[in-house]
């Protein structure tokens, strides 16, 4: 059981790292685009947040299955496929949260710097200094999204013992064979992890809204 937990965590950490880096870049680029376009984009990402993870898995499956355009990479039923799918699951929430945060923060620090008669360039420094707690909070929220993405990992990973079986898939598979105790224990670990993380995220995020 421990191996399943550990695998879940490291696959999700990798996926979150990718989603976070990509999401931060996208949200910063959106800040630099005209308001009308960025408003449209944030609407699109808002909508993507609600897409069922199994649909994300299906899309990735279509791309990487042996007959698919990326089939030659032989990624289907590998941990890499899980990382890719989970990062796609987590990406939209990272983009929408970071974009809104950066937009508000940039407005504030820019006005502050201008109001104090300093060059606008100083606003970038203040933004760097202000943002760590918010970034940590968003990272943890994204991690929770990634680790709970059952649908996606089922489709592209198949829950193969010792390879792509993670907590969510293990729970689903064990319930089917009547191994309730195992499933409940894993479920407990998953709940403690995600609830714990979201509490930490709330606490850290609380520091943001000074």
């Amino acid at each position: 059981m421990l191996d399943v937990v550990v695998r879940s965590i490291y696959i999700s950490l990798a996926a979150t790292l990718i989603a976070f880096t990509l999401g931060a870049l996208i949200s910063l680029l959106m800040l630099a685009t005209p308001r009308r376009l960025s408003g449209l984009l944030v609407g699109v990402f808002d909508a993507l947040v609600g897409v069922p993870t199994v649909v994300v898995g299906l899309v990735v499956y279509m791309l990487i299955h042996p007959g698919g355009p990326l089939g030659f990479l032989k990624l289907l039923y590998t941990p890499t496929a899980l990382v890719v799918s989970q990062s796609l699951v987590a990406l939209p929430i990272v983009v929408t949260l970071l974009y809104r945060y950066f937009e508000q923060l940039w407005g504030d620090v820019r006005e502050l710097v201008l109001s104090l008669g300093a060059p606008v360039g100083k606003a970038y420094l203040l933004m760097l200094r202000e943002s760590p707690p918010a970034l940590i909070a968003v990272y943890l929220i994204a991690f929770s999204r990634a680790i709970g993405a059952l649908g996606a990992v089922m489709v592209v990973g198949g829950g193969i013992e010792g390879l792509t079986n993670v907590m969510t898939t293990a729970i689903a598979l064990e319930v089917q064979v009547g191994n309730y105790e195992y499933a409940l224990t894993l479920g407990g670990v998953l709940v403690v992890l995600t609830v714990g993380l979201s509490l930490v995220a709330r606490a850290v995020g609380g520091l943001v809204w000074r």
């Binding site: 006005e111 201008l114 109001s115 008669g117 707690p133």
Partner: protein
């Protein structure tokens, strides 16, 4: 420093004009008070005077030169003398000392004597090490005012600076603004009558529906 608005119009959405043909000249020193009801355009006007907003039409002339026609370098060198205090204080993460000293730090100044004097005078010394998260509205305002006063700018613009302040601080601030106005330009916007202020005002203006009128 002299700031002149020439036929200034401003619109946020490109349809409705919040300021309509404002003409006003703020000479190098004195205490100028702009009054007007909520929504009359005071904040917008003050941000234009402070060179934060660019007018939709018209020009802002600082010491004889159209500010928005200048290059970035020249703009920065003019703007460094002009300080604006927000109606809604912007306070950053960190402690109170970090926030009150931010203006000086952004300027690369390390002479904190006057700042320390102000901190003492306005009674916030006890707060310096407290987190900025747990401040009351009045304390936040004091911090944003002290942060600005410490810079001793040539032009100081304050937006509703008396909100949430107790009467002794209001008196103190009016005193400080009055004495500053002897050598600098001070512009204050307020939506209600502040008795102490009226006596010291060099000029009084009223903003109604985006038009500025000078009072008697």
């Amino acid at each position: 420093m002299e700031v002149r608005l020439e036929d200034v119009w401003f619109s946020y959405d490109g349809r409705r004009y919040v300021l309509r043909s404002v003409n006003v000249e703020f000479k190098g020193r004195g205490l100028h008070v702009v009054m007007g009801p909520n929504g009359s355009g005071k904040t917008t006007l003050l941000k234009i005077v402070s060179l934060i907003y660019k007018p939709t039409r018209g020009s802002v002339v600082v010491d004889g030169r159209g500010y928005w026609d200048l290059g970035p370098g020249e703009r920065d060198s003019i703007r460094q003398h002009i300080v604006y205090v927000h109606d809604k204080p912007i306070i950053l993460r960190g402690d109170v000392w970090y926030n009150v000293s931010l203006g000086l730090r952004l300027k690369g100044s390390d002479s904190y004597d006057y700042l320390e004097e102000l901190v003492e005078r306005y009674g916030v010394s006890e707060l310096l090490r407290s987190s900025s998260r747990s401040l009351s509205a009045g304390q936040r305002r004091l911090i944003s005012i002290i942060r600005a006063l410490a810079l001793k700018p040539r032009v100081l613009v304050l937006d509703e600076p008396f909100n949430h302040l107790d009467s002794s601080r209001v008196r103190m601030l009016v005193e400080d603004l009055t004495s500053m106005a002897g050598s600098s330009l001070v512009v204050v916007a307020t939506h209600y009558m502040v008795r102490e202020l009226m006596g010291s005002a060099t000029r009084l203006y009223e903003l109604v529906d985006g038009s500025l009128r000078e009072q008697g």
